[in-house]
Amino acid sequence: MDFLTIKNVHHTYFTKSSMTTALSDITLDVNEGEFISFLGPSGCGKTTLLSIIAGLIEPTSGTVQLENKTVKTSKNDIGYMLQQDYLFPWKTIEENILLGLKINGSLTSTTRDYSLQLLEKMGLAHVIHSSPKELSGGMRQRVALVRTLATEPKLLMLDEPFSALDFQTKLKLEDLVSTTLKNFNKTAILVTHDIGEAIAMSDRIILFSPSPGRIHKTFVIPNELKSLTPFHARNHPQYTELFQKIWKELESLDES
């Protein structure tokens, strides 16, 4: 049985002056515990697909099911981390990470302790009473990750979470996120336009082509790379090989 099934999803945005088909005929299955990356130039509908999976927008046609239930009814099983951290500046770090639990009514001393432990694991226990604006970009993104994980979602979606960070912070966070998700055996979808990041972090890469967005090709990451942390994977000979292959594929998309 598949964990997440996306079937014939098609989405068109209507505005007064235009019609934009963002996604066309997307069919995709994701297994439990799998780490998937969506790779592709901007404008090929990656964010739109995440919003559809999160149940935030209804696709023009097609279905998305999580464990055989429509995503509308299983909202609490999905965590979604946006491109920027979107921590609420008027709330403390503690209030921010407990927000999800508070909203879905599952804030108990157990879930609260769990969230605080997560924060500690991210090396941020000391900022619990701080305000978001006192934190660096990398710290804020880690807090946002804790906020997303605090509700224990079964499926985690990350929309270009590292794109606004400097390179060093990004490499560190990749390792942190990757090991955290592996430890919890979480299923995850990562959107990125960084080929290296996609190779280093995922089990499978879905390459999208633009206008209209569709699945162009799928790359399965060899086991040798999967078993390594992202940082070490980047130094593996197979990494370079795969990088070249995907690079060429992206180039060919540009030309057509």
């Binding site: 909202k75 500046p89 008027w90 999800g100």
Partner: protein, 267 residues
Amino acid sequence: MTNPDLQGLHHQYLKGLKREKRLVRFFQVLIFTSFFVLWEFASRLHWIDPLIFSSPSKVWNLFIQKSVDGSLAANIGITVTETILGFLAGTLLGTLLAAVLWWSPLLSKILDPFLVILNAMPKVALGPILIVAIGANMTSIVAMGTLVSVIITTIVVYTSFKEVDPNYLKVLYVFGATRSVCFKQAILPASFPTIISTLKVNVGLAWVGVIVGEFLTSARGLGYMIIYGFQVFDFTLVFLSLLVIAIFATLMYQLVELLERKLIKND
């Protein structure tokens, strides 16, 4: 090369700042006092008609007399109360209306042209109707103070509600939030600084509404003192009221500004 004497330079810089500040203060006091001195002399020497323009000494004597018999304090109390009630009600009601408009995008589209008309309308022109409808009492004066500020507050606060980054709502919706949770968690707190700043504008607007209201009802308050002084040709009374209004309006504005700085710093 020798190191520049930083301590000495800093000292000089501070001294320069102090000197400028003293200069500014000096001219402010000079303008203030010469205004009153000139006014007094102009009146005594009949450069201006003392019957119309009165003089500081006459205003001062009247101030003492009205303070002793307690009538000034009573009138100040009434006007200040009405103004505070008016601007608080205007801000609260305006925010509430903005919330309703945010809640229903359809309603906001329907009401849009009416808001434009009401905003363009000089609200004090509705005074007579208000007084006939509610009665010549404190309620109708507070209503005037409210009416002047409520529409502009609605528009400003509603605009601020709409400008809240939709990604904050996205975060909340993924957690399963309803629209009212979104309002409480994101829309309202994000617009808090805007609401506080309308408070400041509304203090000034409420004074306009209240003074005009007191002109019309002609019963009590500083506005009444002005209109009464005008009718009996006692311009000393008019100037006394004007000076008192200037002082209290400034005080109230400063208080709200202080409140704003406190609240904005805290969050």
